[in-house]
Symmetry: C2
């Protein structure tokens, strides 16, 4: 499948490599390709410049958000929570129309310090905001409950299987995303219901951040025991 | 230990029985003992009248909130989220002073329909509200991530162990609560940190309610896989 991964941060890079390894034709979308490729220094998070990463992953395309979305059969939102809506605007409503959009972003608010709070929660969610803004796109919230490494390598945890969730209004779109998740190695996938259930997985992030603090690692996940 | 369980709903009743079975001297606290014992009909949730339940559990005391708190070494807040602060006011700041208060309540808001939203979240929590209002009490948030049956019988889930969390500012108080949880059968207990981490477990309830809808049961829990 031709997949556009929007976002060049850790999540975008890791998803691009993982999806390419699973046999997909992956293009990373960024706001300005020339600017992104011209950066020479590590970013504020200490990540090596995108161009260096790209040099090691020549099989992954790099295009503008709009070009990447236009050429894709399925789009992944791996932009930051704060940048998601504006980035998807730049990708273009027409380029996203009719397509499945896998939203893995969380609406993190770092303005109050660490751990982050959420810019939207409780009675709304980022997943719903995106679905409302792009009604012709079939939004499926998924993978936002684990760190980037586990998204594409759930077996990276030595322990037995853990759980991933999907939320969305379109059953066919969810079935496609479930198949994609299975191709990445996920075995325990719970369909929570319509896109409003994205509130559940986004608000879980408030527990995830505290667990990261308590455990001293982001390499953990949850198994729904039933 | 002499334990006061404040609240006569399903959570209060189940905790009272479970803690008594674990060898503790348990008194249930209610706003008005005479009124509570005089109710003849099932409540709006379909629970049998409290007096019927009491008849089957003679070993459990019933007193006013203030009497129960005054006589207890450790107090459990099993009041509804909406009734927690006023109920604890009725219990009396002096009667709670210096004591460990295990807060198992969630700030559920049913005013917007089902599933409930939260009355406080994201930048504050019920646990913190209680700690701020009763600074002389040592509040430990715990058990609010599972239904009442699992609180006192974690082995009720056939699957392997699952996880329970504690949040609180006082390390000694948390150690006491961890010992209490172990006496109920809990084996995987994670100390999330200070009372602000109660935001994490309270906000997880937004995922819990959607999981209950998707799974069709409240008899589930999560295991933190790491």
């Amino acid at each position: 499948m031709r997949i556009a991964v929007l976002g060049t941060g850790t999540v975008g890079r890791t998803l691009a490599v993982g999806l390419a390894a699973a046999g997909h034709e992956v293009t990373v979308g960024t706001r300005d390709v020339a600017v992104t490729l011209s950066r020479k220094a590590a970013d504020p998070m200490g990540r090596p410049p995108f161009a260096d990463w790209r040099g090691q992953h020549q099989g992954v395309g790099v295009e503008s958000l709009a070009e990447a979305a236009a050429g894709a059969q399925l789009v992944v939102n791996a932009l930051s929570g704060a940048g998601a809506l504006s980035g998807l605007e730049a990708a273009g409503e027409g380029n996203l129309s009719g397509k499945v959009l896998v939203d893995v972003a969380n609406p993190l608010d770092f303005s109050r310090g660490m751990p982050p709070s959420l810019t939207v929660s409780n009675t709304d969610s980022l997943g719903e905001q995106i679905q409302r803004r792009f009604p012709g796109t079939r939004v499926v919230k998924a993978l936002n409950t684990v760190n980037a490494g586990l998204m594409v390598d759930p077996a990276g945890l030595a322990a037995a299987g853990h759980t991933v969730f999907v939320s969305g209004d379109d059953a066919t779109a969810k079935a496609q995303v479930v198949a994609l998740l299975e191709s990445l190695g996920w075995t325990d996938i719970i369909d929570l219901g319509d896109i409003t259930t994205a509130r559940g997985t986004e608000m879980y992030v408030a527990l995830w951040t505290r667990l990261m603090g308590a455990l001293g690692t982001a390499a953990f996940s949850i198994k729904v025991v039933r």
